[in-house]
Amino acid sequence: MESSGEFNRLRYKYWPDRAIGELLSKNWMETAVPLLVLVLVIAVFSSLVENFLSFSTIAGFLREGSELGFIVLGQAIVLIVGGIDLSVGSIYAICNVLVLYLVHVQEWSVASSIVVTLLVGAALGAVNGVLIGYLKLRAFLTTLVTLIVLRAIYNLIQFKWAVGIASTLPESSLWDYLGSGKMLSLPVATWIFAVVAVGFHLFLTRMRGGWRLLAVGGSRRSAYNSGLPVNRIAALAYVASGVFAGVAAVLFAARVDSSSADTGLGLEIVVLAAALLGGIRLGGGKGSAMKAVLGTFIILIVTNSLRGLAVQAGYIRIALGVIMILAVTLDIRWFKNRGKAISELYVSPGYLPMPKAASLAAGTPYAVNNKLGNIELIGLGQVESPEDVILDSDDHLYCGTRHGDIMKFHAPDYKKMEVYAHIGGQPLGMAFNAAGDLYVCVGGMGLYRVRRADRVVEKVTDETNRSWNTVNDDSRLRLADDLDIAPDGRIYFSEATIRYEMSEWPIDSLEARGNGRIICYDPKTDKTQTVLKNLVFPNGICMVGDGQSLLFAESWACRISRYWFDGPNKGQVQVVIPDLPGYPDNINRASDGNFWIAIMGMRSPSFDLAMRWPGFRRRMVKRLGHDEWLSPNINVGCVIKCDLNGTVLESYWDKGGENHPMITSMREHKGYLYLGGISNNRIGRLRLDGADPHFIQHPINAR
């Protein structure tokens, strides 16, 4: 079986593996599932039930849905806080008969009747709340008991009041309006529900109370430890559930104007099924208004349509039970495996045929030597992860560290070290502009600047234009990597990958896709614009010196290309070195007009082969732990020098990889070559024979 097929190339180019993984990692995907179910349910029943999509049927659904929806919202609050409320049906029934009694028999005004009813609903909820929140009784048992007790009370008072309620009719326009009134041809109850649901959404997502509910449900202990009044919040959730049941009861009473012995009987099952189906977790800490609404309508459509199809009530109950079990199972399985599923699906390897690597044999410019095996070391053990190094015109040395600092080593002996600036993210590529301000690409943050005058750190840019065809928002800079400054002041920098964070960049090597881009920041207009996309881990950037073009390295593709950003060839890209034997990193100018290229690691034939086997890599990511994944060999690196035509002139190696494993950058300065490495704890310094002793890559014209 041969891997290198046209089929494979096309399949991995056009099949949206990447989009699927990215979609799944979105939070709103959890709401998308019940939405899909709702669409499915509508599709199925609209073909089965006559007049399903008629206006009156829909209006009926909306009206009933609003009543049920209120109870589901109440249940959602309780579920979010980590409890369960089985007594909603009984509270609903009592409130229903109470408001009817007050309006019909006592002939109270509608407004005061409603207020009293809601207060009673709250009080009944508070019974649950106190027992569960403060006395720490089990929610399930407690509300089961209140379900039974309140049901008994309901049966007693309903028996007593029923005749009175049935024999009088209130004359209140407000009461009628609530029951059958319409606004913009939709039931009033629906409007009320819509307003409350939107309010509930805002409460849950934007307000302190909502956050506290989620916090208590997510982790009761942590919420307690961070000072939240856990007991009170839990108790109030049940009060809210009681009030919402009361609202539903009032709306139902206004519509039907009568009460019967089975009002609200078995409602808890319907409500729970709706909440769970919507995706509100039994375990607490997760839930939203949208989920409650979706769940409500799914259940309502299923039960009503089954009833419309003349299915017996018993079967409908069974159907509800089955739906609930399925929803709970799915819920538990999904939450247990969500992270795993996402991480397995997120990495989406592509097909990348590698050109034959240039030979390392003796006699070639790449011949392995040990020129870097015993070089002078600066800051050994004092710096960690100096990805790039740079020197100013006074010969002071600067490098980034993984602690988020830019360190300065003082000339001439580089023994004295100080924190030049604290940035926070890991500094990668660096360049001085003509005024001596230090521009830094910071992993996870974007392009930053340290002013020369007062060492103040400023953000230059952290976003670019968003692509229209990506799932993930790619406007934020995730991994700005290296930069250089054009003579006119424009800053060109590479973003290695838009799919991984600073700590995960080696994973991008397994994708071998065009995940990176080159971005231009123009200080004159303060605009940031992506100029080249779909590059395979673009890394080093270096101005050629003609004011029109730059060289850039694509690490996983092992090639160096030239890009014209101005002049007659504007927009063109030309590959300069197609077949590097390793993974190129930063590029910088040499004093003799040539270019230094850091090779951070070497290609191995098995890894190259794996690049043509995306399925192999995908399964590997699924099956094996992170540390076991195949990796490019970035333990041994070298520095090469090439000319603008891509002819490699010489190479500098640390054969054993002991002194300078993984070189990610080098900088020539006044006859010396300084070396940095992202997994090193040192900076190397090599004397270059015959190099221009006055060469500075970024001359600074002090103001």
Binding site: M1, E2, S3, E384, S385, P506, G601, M602, R603, S604, P605, S606, F607, L609, A610, W613, F616, R619, M620, K622, R623, L624, G625, H626, D627, E628, W629, L630, S631, P632, N633, I634, N635, V636, G657, E658, P661, M662, S679, N680, N681, R682
Partner: protein, 360 residues
């Protein structure tokens, strides 16, 4: 049908035959640095096997030669064969050395006798021998298809053509005791005459009786090889390479595996090795990336040094290690000699010396 479904399920969940998990080095196999820090006793190129003759002399197979080495490490050539020696054992009053498919008797009353085990079609892959109390020689042959040096190829092609043979010098009779073994490597005969062999690709030690193989120690975290009796009772077992999750995974990736074998130099295959980490063209795993100049001890290993002390029931007692990043890897033979344990690291081509009183 059910089998297909099970396979699909296994592939989805990474269970059953798609399971790439590897036993951890734990309990008696807890890692240490004893082997890595051991004193070097003897160095030569192409070291392969060691044994002690009946008169108490130490014999070492090095390339095509058999050397006699004294206590101070001074070597004297005893014999020189046409082909590299692949196994060595004491027999009666002399020695037997095996090349790929032939036995050569050296010294003793059978000196100079030769016997060809292999047939014409295949050179043979004899890798260990042991004298049976009844005067016969028990021989293990790793593969019926790939030569001794091509053992990674046999592993990657799911080799199961190993044999255990019994040879009687008095009448040149050769019996097949057991075939279709997943790389038989190392033989041992206990006091009762029972025959044991290591089944390397099966990660276990088996007892062979009446044509059946019965596990006596299984689920090893590496590929076992030669076995010898310990003087204090029990046995010494060498494990010549570690199991590695990536390798286990590659073994199940038929297409990739075959293209790799067809196109890439065997040195650079994703496969176990006798020594590794010293060539940057070798495959590497993410855990093996040096951080701040340090290779982490949990880095996945392609090669390892491991000697396991087994009790009389073949259960592990303790072990000697050379861990990832070390040099004394690929241990294929041990011998007890004048109160020291001599360990032959084929990966480093060294014989190491460990006083028995110092280890456990």
């Amino acid at each position: 049908m059910l089998k297909q479904l099970k396979r699909a399920r296994d592939r989805f969940f990474g269970a059953g035959e798609a399971d790439t998990s590897v036993p951890v080095l734990d309990g008696p196999l807890k890692p240490n640095h004893i082997l890595e820090n051991a004193e070097v006793f003897f160095e030569a190129t192409g070291l392969e096997d060691i044994c002690i003759t009946a008169d108490g002399r130490l014999m070492v197979a090095s390339g095509v030669t058999v050397l006699s080495v004294d206590d101070s490490g001074k070597a004297q050539t005893i014999a020189s064969l046409d082909e590299p020696v692949q196994a060595l054992t004491a027999y009666s009053d002399g020695l037997v050395a095996a090349t790929s498919g032939s036995l050569h008797f050296i010294g003793g009353h059978l000196d100079g006798k030769q016997y060809r085990v292999a047939k014409e079609s295949f050179d043979g892959c004899i890798n260990a021998m042991c004298e049976h109390p009844d005067g016969s020689i028990i021989i293990s042959e790793g593969s019926g298809r790939h030569g001794y040096s091509e053992w990674t190829k046999d592993l990657l092609s799911d080799g199961a053509s190993g044999r255990v043979l019994q040879y009687r010098p008095e009448n040149d009779k050769l019996d097949i005791i057991k075939q279709s073994l997943k790389y038989a490597y190392g033989v041992l005969v206990d006091a009762q005459g029972a025959i044991y062999t290591s089944e390397s690709w099966g990660h276990r030690i088996v007892q062979i009786a009446q044509g059946n193989a019965r596990s006596v120690y299984q689920d090893l975290p590496g590929y076992p090889s030669r076995l010898i009796k310990a003087e204090a009772g029990g046995y010494w077992l060498t494990v010549f390479a570690p199991r590695n999750q990536l390798v286990e995974f590659v073994l199940r990736e038929t297409g990739f595996k075959h293209e790799m074998m067809a196109k890439i130099d065997p040195k650079y295959w994703i496969a176990p090795a006798l020594s590794s980490g010293h060539d940057f063209i070798e495959p590497m795993q993410q855990g093996g990336v040096r951080q701040m100049g340090v290779l982490k001890p949990w880095a996945p290993a392609r090669s390892y040094g491991l000697v396991v002390r087994l009790d009389a029931d073949f259960q592990p007692q303790y072990s000697l290690h050379s861990r990832v990043g070390g040099y004394n890897h690929g241990v294929t033979a041990v011998a007890e000699f004048h109160g020291v344990l001599l360990v032959l690291s084929k990966g480093a081509s060294k014989v190491l010396r460990l006083p028995l009183s110092d280890i456990k």
